[in-house]
Every structure is written in structure tokens, then in C-alpha cells.
């Protein structure tokens, strides 16, 4: 007889194996999807996952890995801290947008002045914007007990409208011949988030992401606050008795994830994107949720997961131009990854037992 039993403790082996299994299963299911779309499945997988790193034009794509991975990692690190504590910030996309708007606005306010303190000021403004946007759900949750999932998500749609309004109004390029969108920050030396080493894709956002990873790692494993986060997520009542201040923790987790998302938005707008425009946001805030889960809410795992997701974006672009694979296929692919991860996670918490159980 086969029985299903909850493991007394989470299986350490399975918790490492699950993401790998999920990725392999997604390859298989993705292959089927590509086949159904009339593409060669093996060729598609190679184009998406092998060519950007080892293929003929990899010198061009490798830097993209850092450019696309940095915002994902930056956002996911913040989200993971909240998710660990059972605080669900789903609106990172909104915080990313507001961070970008504030960062760009701070820079454009001084155009065309050139000074070394402009870029640091923009970083501060971007972080502040993201933090502020995340403080709305945090405050409402602490003060009124409002569900942070719904509020943070509603604020994404508000932020998208704000973005449209900014690129058509306040931040519109006065010399842009009436086209929507702000001045291009890449052409404004003091505000440009340029590559630190040319040709590597290494910009200040990548540095920030690395710092965030180390910071989060130390916080979660060595600091009392990290302990509070973990206890709150696993046993909220125990956390209460251990003296964890739930309100303060909510402010910290939401604020930190908003701050990091705002930073990601600011580094994106001043670097790779270059300007505030209506279609500035491309869903990093949502993909980062997948990254956080795929990385097992662990800083190191998130780095690996973030790079893998960045790879799907880059490979997806290549597959779009070379194999005429539709752009949405990659979105489906990313969604499937999260499905398989959640499904395989079953084995970290439960196990099958064979044979009859003895009477106790």
C-alpha cells in the first residue's frame, strides 16, 4: 500500500533538486509547445538557451545577460525577503515604474548642468520613489489590516497610468518634436548609467544587485532581523512570542522590496532604456516573482535564477528573429517554469511511504 506522508522536516536534497527538475521539465514541455507552434523543438531550445552564451554571436549576447539579469535579481532579492515572512508584495512592477520616474525626474531637473553629484542624487530619488510606492500597501496593511497583495497590485495599474501621464506631459522632451517620451538620459553624461567596463554589460545596476545579494545573505543568515523574517513566515504566533514586531517587519519587508525595485527602475531608465516612455516597463516586476521562487527565496539561488530568466529573455529575442517564434511563447515558457516548480515542490514537503503503518 502506498501512503502519502508529510515529512517531519523539509528535505534538503529535494529543495535543491526541485528547481533543477522544474527547469528540465520546462525544457520538455517547452519543446512540446515549440513543436505545436511548428518549430523544431531541439533547435528552439538550443537557440534560446545555448546560443546566447556559447553560440557564434555570444560576444554580443553575454553582456545582455547582466543587463537583463540585474533588474530581475535586484527586485527578486527584495521580494524574497517579504515572501519568506509571508508578506506578499506583488506590485514590484509599480514600484519599478515609480522608481524610474523619480530617478529620471531628479536627473532631468538639472539638465543640462553637468556635475558628479547628479547621478548619486538620481539613485537616491529612484530608491525613494520605489520605497514610497511600497509604503502605501505597508501603511494600509499595518494601520487598517488591508490586504497588501491587492493594494500593491492595484498600484501597478495606477503607476502605469502615471507613467503614461509623465511621458506625455511633465517629463516630455521639449525638443522631441511632440513625440511622447522624455529626453534620452544616455545623451546626458551626468545622468547616464554607462557601462563601467565597456562591452561587458556591467553597469551600476549590476553593482547594486551584487551589493543587495550580499546584504540579503548576511541579513538572512547572520542578523536578528533575518531570524525574525524566517520565524514570522514559518510560525507567526511563535514570532509574536519571540518579540517580533509584525508592523515593523511589514514596513521593513515592503519598504526594502520597494526600494530595490525602485533602484532597478532607476538604473534601467538611466542606462539600457535611456528614457521614460509609455512602454518603458516590460514586466520585470512580475518575472522577478518567478525568479524569487525559482531561487528558493535564497540570495545565491536568486542570482542563478535571475541569470536563467535573463537568458530566456535574450534567447527569446533571438528565437523571435531567427525562428519567428512568437514573443508570447517565452512568457508561456516562464509561466510553465513556475508551475513545474510548485508542482515538484510537493516532494520537498511530502514523501510516499510503502507498506502498512503499524498501529500506535
Amino acid at each position: 500500500m502506498i501512503r502519502l506522508e508529510k515529512r517531519p522536516q523539509v528535505s534538503a536534497f529535494m529543495s535543491y533538486a526541485t528547481p533543477v527538475l522544474a527547469v528540465l521539465a520546462t525544457f520538455a514541455a517547452g519543446g512540446v509547445l515549440f513543436y505545436l507552434l511548428g518549430k523544431d523543438p531541439v533547435q528552439s531550445i538550443i537557440t534560446i538557451f545555448y546560443d546566447p552564451i556559447f553560440g557564434e554571436f555570444s560576444f554580443y549576447y553575454r553582456p545582455q545577460l547582466l543587463i537583463k539579469g540585474a533588474p530581475l535579481i535586484l527586485i527578486a532579492i527584495g521580494l524574497a525577503m517579504g515572501f519568506k515572512a509571508g508578506i506578499w508584495n506583488i506590485g514590484a512592477e509599480g514600484q519599478y515604474i515609480v522608481g524610474a520616474i523619480c530617478g529620471a525626474a531628479a536627473g532631468l531637473a538639472f539638465y543640462p548642468m553637468e556635475a558628479v553629484w547628479i547621478f548619486p542624487l538620481m539613485i537616491a530619488a529612484g530608491a525613494f520613489g520605489g520605497w514610497l510606492w511600497a509604503m502605501i500597501p505597508a501603511f494600509l496593511k499595518v494601520r487598517f489590516g488591508t490586504n497588501e497583495i491587492l493594494v500593491s497590485l492595484m498600484l501597478v495599474y495606477v503607476a502605469e497610468q502615471l507613467l503614461a501621464s509623465m511621458s506625455l506631459g511633465l517629463l516630455k522632451n521639449p525638443e522631441g518634436f511632440g513625440f511622447p517620451g522624455s529626453r534620452n538620459l544616455q545623451q546626458y553624461a551626468s545622468a547616464h548609467n554607462a557601462e563601467i567596463v565597456a562591452g561587458t554589460g556591467m553597469h551600476w545596476g549590476v553593482v547594486a544587485a551584487l551589493i543587495a545579494v550580499i546584504f540579503a545573505y548576511v541579513l538572512l543568515t547572520r542578523h536578528r532581523l533575518g531570524f525574525a523574517i524566517r520565524v514570522t513566515g514559518e510560525a507567526p504566533r511563535a514570532a509574536h512570542f519571540a518579540g517580533v514586531n509584525a508592523a515593523r517587519l511589514t514596513f521593513f519587508c515592503l519598504g526594502m522590496s520597494g526600494l530595490l525595485a525602485g533602484l532597478a527602475g532607476m538604473f534601467e531608465v538611466s542606462g539600457p532604456a535611456g528614457q521614460i516612455s509609455i512602454d518603458f516597463n516590460v514586466g520585470y516586476g512580475f518575472t522577478a516573482i518567478i525568479v524569487a521562487f525559482l531561487g528558493r527565496l535564497h540570495p545565491i539561488g536568486i542570482v542563478l535564477a535571475g541569470l536563467l530568466m535573463a537568458l530566456t529573455y535574450i534567447g527569446g529575442d533571438i528565437a523571435q528573429s531567427q525562428l519567428q517564434l512568437p514573443a508570447a511563447a517565452i512568457q508561456v515558457f516562464q509561466g510553465m517554469l513556475l508551475f513545474f516548480l510548485l508542482a515538484f515542490d510537493f516532494f520537498t514537503n511530502y514523501r510516499f511511504r510503502f507498506g502498512f503503518r503499524r498501529a500506535v
Binding site: 502519502l4 506522508e5 508529510k6 506578499w88 506583488i90 494600509l140 487598517f144 489590516g145 488591508t146 490586504n147 497583495i149 491587492l150 493594494v151 497590485l153 492595484m154 498600484l155 501597478v156 495599474y157 495606477v158 497610468q161 502615471l162 503614461a164 501621464s165 506625455l168 506631459g169 512580475f286 516573482i289 518567478i290 521562487f293 512568437p326 514573443a327 508570447a328 511563447a329 517565452i330 512568457q331 508561456v332 515558457f333 516562464q334 509561466g335 510553465m336 513556475l338 508551475f339 510548485l342 508542482a343 515542490d345 510537493f346 514537503n349 511530502y350
Partner: protein, 306 residues
Amino acid sequence: MDLSAINPVLLIAAIISAATPVLLAAIGETVVEKSGVLNLGVEGMMIIGAVTGFIVAVNTGDPLIGFAMAAVGGAGLSLLFAFLTQVALANQVASGLALTLFGLGLSALMGQSYVGIKPPRMPDMPFGDLPNMPVIGPIVFGHDAIVYVGLLLVALTWAVLKFTRAGLILRAVGENHDAAHALGYKVKRIRTMAIMFGGACAGLGGAHISLIRVPQWTEGMTAGVGWIALALVVFASWKPWRVLLGAYLFGGISQLQLNLQGAGVAIPVEYLAMSPYIVTIVVLVILSADKSRAPASLGRTFHASG
């Protein structure tokens, strides 16, 4: 600005129609949450319903078949969520998010060759001359069949939950799944059926957007209506008639802001377009003090350890 251009009778009629997608999705989610499951995938199921209904309606030329298949599509996607949460015992919040992300991607993939096409027109209801009556005509009789289906579902849900044995069992499962299990009820089977009902309702609601409200297919066209439906359920304290009230409130705001845009009010379009989301937040805040009505087992995973 010319506010006199807004005809109050037509406005009320338009509000009833505008409220239908969110009403359908929210009434489905009410049943799901009453069974103790929190499905955050409403947005994903709606958009899958929107695209399935659109594709089928365009290919068959019959919007009613489109709506039927939209319900099937929504319910089909919800089975994925049911598998994750009821069989694989995964976290409901994460699974719901996965459903939404996957649904948005899949719908974009399915609908890419249908952008810019006009769907077939919905046949009129067989009311004869009634819609031409002054005032009452447009408000009561001037709608498509799905509007009435939505109202009927609210009444049915209320009656089933309140007066029938099936409703009692569903509520028991949602309040205390261990007790319900001990009484011999199949918790997982009941919850799976509730989840599928929620998926079918969300699918119908999505198709109402793509086939009647807009009517055409664009990527991500549900634009957060699924999330607003989730907020509505909280707003309504899990009561069907209050879901209806909430849906009209939301439909009213989204329709009014469209009319104000049309009338050329001196507020920028973007700020008017924000208003439904901001109002949703405000309403959530006002009502979040009362948590007493939430099903006691909401969001908790059930695993029979015996």
C-alpha cells in the same frame, strides 16, 4: 466640458453592462473562497476566457458558442490551479500568481493572429419592443444575454449557499476542512469543483470584455479586472448580493470616467483612468476592518493525515 452630453438613463444601462465582467468573475471567486480556497489566478482565467471566447466566436460566427467555450477555457485553466493546490498541495498564493502569469502569456500566444478582427455581433434578446420603452427599456431590457446570466448566477449562488444542502457542505468545507473531512465529505473533490466553477465564471466574464465591451482582442485586455474581482469579494464580505452592489459601484466608476473623458473634463485622461483602481483601494481600506466573515479555512492547505 459638456456634462449635459451624459444621458443618465444610458449611463445606468452602460454601468450595468460594464459591471458584468467583474461581477461574473467575483461571484465565481466568492464560491471558490467559500470553499476555503484563495485563487489569485482570476486575472489569468479571465484573459484565457477572453481569448478562447473570441477565437471560437470568430471561427464559428456564433458568440454564444464563444461564451460557452470561454467558460470551458476558464474552467480548464483553473484545473491546473486545482492540481497544484489540491493534489500537489502547493502554496495557494504562489499557485494563483503562476496561473495569472501563465494565462497572460498563453492568451497572448493564442490570440496573436486575431488582433484587429471584429467578432460577430451578439444576437438581441427576444424582448420585442420592450427595450424601446422610455427609461425602463434601456435599463432593464436593453442588454445582452450574458448580463442576465450574471444576475441569475448571483441569485443562484445566494440561494444555493443559503438554502441547500450542497451549499451547507461547501461552507462547512470552507470553515473547517478537518471537521468536514471527519464527517465524510470529500474536501478535495468539493474544492476542485468550486475552483472549476470559479474558472468558468471568470472565463465568461473575460469573454464579455472581448466579445461585447470592447469588442476585439488585444493582449492583456482584462487590465486588472480579475484583481478587482478579488478585491470585490473581500468588499462584499463573501455575500453574493453585496458582490452585485460592489460590481455596480466599480462598473459605475469605470463607466463614469469613460463618459467624463468623452465629455472633455479638464482632468487628464490618465488620471481618470487611474480612478477605478484607486477607488478599489479606498474601498478595501474602509472595509478591511471587518474580517469576521472570511471563511475560517481560507487559504489553508488540506492534507488528510489519517
